[in-house]
């Protein structure tokens, strides 16, 4: 029986290498948090196929496995539902990957496991080029988060577990040549039942940097740059987008964070670019921001900004339901305590990126979902700009934990 299982796995490996051609997962190796199946962490996530549908590249002997939308999940909007199977593999790399950066780290996963699964026979494996190394469900090496209990609990409720990767290394796992970052084996259940798994990720050792990074880039070529500028056509025009954006990247495990953006110009009236004229009077060019996920190569969007009678700012030609679908947000001066109608500071949190305001105040989960680092764009109302003056602004990008 065991020999048969290995034979099936071997055949499936061959099948995978022959027919699976697109893997984005390996590209995220090296991040502090490497997501295998998760929607929580930026820069990791699910496979995006050519039809635009999201799928995870998993392999099972039953093929009876599906992404389970909206129903019961540990995080995000879906978990993975698996029926009775000899094994389930998460992501076969297209060639062995060097994952030695995770030495001293852990693998995390959340599991809702029914009592039918035997914790004696079911196991968790990680595979390298010489084969899979297994830890059984009932092993004390499997730790439960926020608990002193060990081993998988098959009581039918969600629990989050982790295993020190050193335990697999002690079994002979070669982190330099990983072919599959997680395999579940011998999860035998009745015909009408299933188990759920969610939020699978590897992390580096606790001493590794958990970072919040911001990068300035040109819109034209996505190259890193130092300055934010406006095109020549900005002069005496109303709302014009800047030629650069800033890219956000949060690479750490946490579920209680928010990224805010605001001005700190040390004055309640400076809600934008400001300068002091020669006669001492202050000129302010109002500013706005909008945030987008990183775009797929097939996606296009413009930065043409329209202004409605009530001050709402929208994408010209992209307003899907009318002029109240406002995608640009006036930037808040933190010293101004007055709450304006569309006054939002939150750019990004666990719900996604803040995409639309006013009646449709909503979040887009895409930034957390794919390898898509959110980009913040800026615009200024240059209609009152006067030449010969120096304009300033102090923009704060703030990561807040709760």
């Amino acid at each position: 029986m065991r020999l048969k299982s290995y034979l099936i796995i071997t055949l499936l490996c061959v099948f995978t290498l022959l027919f699976a051609t697109e893997f984005i997962f390996a590209g995220n190796i090296g991040r502090t948090v490497y997501g295998v199946y998760t929607e929580t962490y930026n820069g990791v996530g699910l496979y995006d196929d050519s039809a635009g549908n999201d799928k995870v590249t998993f392999y099972s002997d039953t093929w009876n496995i599906e992404a389970n939308y909206t129903i019961d999940k540990f995080e995000g909007i879906k978990s993975l539902q698996v029926s009775s199977s000899t094994y389930v593999c998460f992501v076969f790399f297209n060639g062995a990957q060097n994952m030695s950066a995770y030495e001293g780290g852990k693998i995390y996963f959340s599991l809702k496991c029914p009592i039918e699964i035997s914790t004696d026979s079911a196991g968790i494996k990680i595979e390298d080029t010489s084969g899979a190394k297994e830890i059984k469900f009932n092993s004390s090496l499997i730790k439960r988060v926020n608990s002193t209990e060990t081993g998988i609990d098959n009581n039918g409720t969600w629990h989050t577990y982790y295993i020190e990767l050193s335990n697999f290394v002690n079994l002979g796992l070669d982190l330099n040549n990983i072919t599959c970052p997680l395999i579940l084996t011998n999860t035998t259940i009745g015909n009408d039942n299933f188990y759920l798994i969610d939020n699978v990720y590897w992390t580096k050792a606790s001493s590794a940097t958990r970072a919040f990074n911001v990068t300035v880039k040109n819109i034209s070529d996505n190259e890193e740059c130092d300055d934010i500028t406006w095109a020549q056509s900005a002069y005496r025009k109303s709302w014009i987008a800047a030629e650069q954006y800033i890219e956000l990247d949060l690479d750490q495990e946490s579920t209680n964070w928010t990224v805010n953006i605001y001005l700190n110009n040390s004055s309640s009236t400076r809600n934008g670019l400001y300068c002091v004229d020669s006669d001492g009077s202050e000129i302010v060019l109002p500013m706005a921001w909008r945030v987008r996920p990183d775009l797929l190569s097939s996606e296009k969007f413009t930065l043409l900004i329209g202004e409605n009678d009530d001050g709402g700012l929208y994408d010209i030609g992209k307003n899907p339901t009318g002029t109240d679908w406002y995608t640009w947000v006036p930037i808040k001066e933190i010293n101004n305590e007055t709450i304006q109608e569309y006054d939002y500071v939150t750019v990004w949190n666990l719900r996604g990126i803040h995409t639309v305001v006013k009646y449709h105040d909503s979040y887009d989960t895409l930034a957390n979902y794919y390898e898509r680092k959110p980009k913040i764009y800026f615009a200024a109302d240059c209609s009152n700009a006067i030449g010969g003056l120096t304009y300033n602004a102090s923009v704060v990008t703030e990561l807040v934990y709760e």
Partner: protein
């Protein structure tokens, strides 16, 4: 192009002068929970790492966090002490920043502070990372929360919920829980849905939590009961809501 126009464009081009293309800050730990008795002192440290592409100086700022109203209105700096408020960090370097949290003899319930690490430089865009310290004064906790309200709504994929937690206690809670969806009169359990832990509900306040509950394909036309069970700090709050699903999959609460 006239002369004035050229001059304006030059200035516009210099509106933002960043001193970086790539910038980043790492603060560990991101959340600190301290449990201690009145009169005790907690010694902790932060590790702040510079991932900018050049050396930086960071400033430390303190602000009051959510605190039980029964506590004296004291400045955060009177109980949370940092020896220094500025640190230089080399490129790719890190510093350890020690601090002491003094739990005063008249503190009760929970006391918290926001610690802000911001980059002190002349660039127009700056980064700051704000991390909380929550002090729970052991022996004085009052854990008292309930489910204030439940609203169900129809969404594209199914039925969602907005759960409002009312925390009447003197410490913050981070709840988890589950929703049990039954047929009419609780005759049959249709689905159990996990409620994950996210952000806290602070003491003496309410907070809304919105998420999906059940998919359109999972629930047929009919009458149901959803029982919400929320757990935190060893206590549980339960509330149920009756609802009807129409033949179009719309939810109507009763």
């Amino acid at each position: 192009m006239n002369k004035m126009m050229k001059k304006f464009l030059l200035i516009i081009g210099l509106i933002f002068c960043f001193n970086f293309a790539y910038a980043g800050l790492s603060v560990t730990p991101s959340v600190t929970n301290v449990f201690g008795e009145q009169g005790s002192t907690y010694k902790g440290k932060y590790i702040v790492r510079n991932t900018y592409d050049h050396p930086i100086t960071i400033k430390i700022g303190l602000d009051k966090g959510n605190t039980f109203s029964g506590n004296p209105d004291v400045d955060v700096k009177s109980w949370l002490k940092f020896k220094r408020t500025k640190y230089d960090i080399a490129k790719d370097g890190q510093v350890e920043i020690p601090y002491e949290a003094h739990i005063l003899s008249n503190m009760k319930g929970s006391v918290s502070a926001k610690v802000e690490f911001s980059v002190d430089q002349s660039s127009m865009i700056s980064i700051s990372v704000v991390v909380p310290i929550y002090i729970t004064v052991t022996g004085t906790e009052n854990i008292d929360f309930n489910i204030d309200s439940i609203n169900l709504f129809s969404s594209q994929n199914g039925i969602g919920y907005k759960l409002t937690i009312q925390n009447n206690g003197n410490v913050h809670i981070r709840h988890t829980g589950q929703i049990e969806i039954y047929t009419k009169k609780k005759k049959k359990l249709v689905k159990t849905v996990y409620i994950p832990e996210t952000v806290p509900t602070y003491c003496e306040s309410k907070r809304d939590f919105t998420d999906f509950m059940i998919g359109k394909d999972e629930i047929k036309k009919g009458k149901y009961v959803a029982v919400f069970k929320v757990n935190a700090l060893g206590k549980e709050a339960v509330k149920e809501i009756k609802f009807k699903v129409t033949k179009h999959g719309e939810v109507v609460t009763q």
